[in-house]
């Protein structure tokens, strides 16, 4: 079965800093990959997704992710974070009819 690893558990940044959150999945073949965000006290929302095609995927709020098949990775990036990006970020991979989530990365952005 698929699995997902997020190695950054807690990231602290100042506003305007660049962000990269790591995500690795366990095995290849056709994969569907996702990043979800959970703002404090809220439910999960989809940030972006990769199904096929261009490996550089753009999502909402200026986020993007790059699918690198050779590295089994789908890292999330943002060139300049804002205080409002403080949230928990989850990477997920589709496994037939369900999603397998990583353990999440808590991002804190300070003004």
């Amino acid at each position: 079965a698929q699995s997902v690893s997020q190695h950054n558990h807690h990231v602290i940044l100042s506003e305007a800093a660049s962000l990269e959150l790591g995500c690795n999945y366990s095995y290849g073949g056709t994969v569907n990959l996702f990043w979800y965000v959970q703002y404090p006290g809220q439910h999960l929302q989809l940030l972006l997704k990769y199904f096929s095609g261009d490996p550089l995927v753009k999502g909402i709020k200026g986020f993007e992710a790059e699918f690198i098949k050779s590295k089994f990775s789908f890292n999330l990036r943002k060139p300049s974070v804002q205080w409002s990006d403080t949230a928990e970020y989850f990477c997920a991979v589709r496994d037939t009819d369900k999603l397998i989530f990583g353990t999440g990365t808590r991002l804190q952005v300070f003004p």
Binding site: Q6, H9, N32, F34, Q42, H43, L44, Q45, L46, K49, F90, A92, V93, R94, T96, D97, K98, L99, I100, F101, G102, T103, G104
Partner: protein, 113 residues
């Protein structure tokens, strides 16, 4: 269009009590899911359903039962609650072709004393 709703929002149980969490969606989605979220463990799938009348086990099904009698509703039951079931429970739904694009409910915070 309410999306995915969950009832109740908060609940406190004593060990051994039972309860049912209700998830409802108005998007005509075939697939529905129940997750639990615990600090440092991400979201773990409890049970899911790919259509009315069907259910399947996820990663952590023990101690929970589910039913999907109507397409729009997915019930999660705890027959005999344990402190280890203290968690935040999220329901989600999706369409078959986009099983990863899930829409989540607001969550139910359950405490078992």
């Amino acid at each position: 269009n309410a999306g995915v709703t969950q009832t109740p929002k908060f609940r406190v149980l004593k060990t051994g009590q039972s309860m049912t969490l209700l998830c409802a969606q108005d998007m005509n989605h075939e697939y529905m899911y129940w997750y639990r979220q615990d600090p440092g463990m991400g979201l773990r799938l409890i049970h899911y359903s790919v259509g009315e009348g069907t259910t399947a086990k996820g990663e952590v099904p023990d101690g929970y039962n589910v039913s999907r009698l109507k397409k729009q509703n997915f019930l999660l039951g705890l027959e005999s609650a344990a402190p280890s079931q203290t968690s935040v429970y999220f329901c989600a739904s999706s369409t078959p072709g986009l099983a990863g694009t899930q829409y989540f409910g607001p969550g139910t915070r359950l405490t078992v004393l």
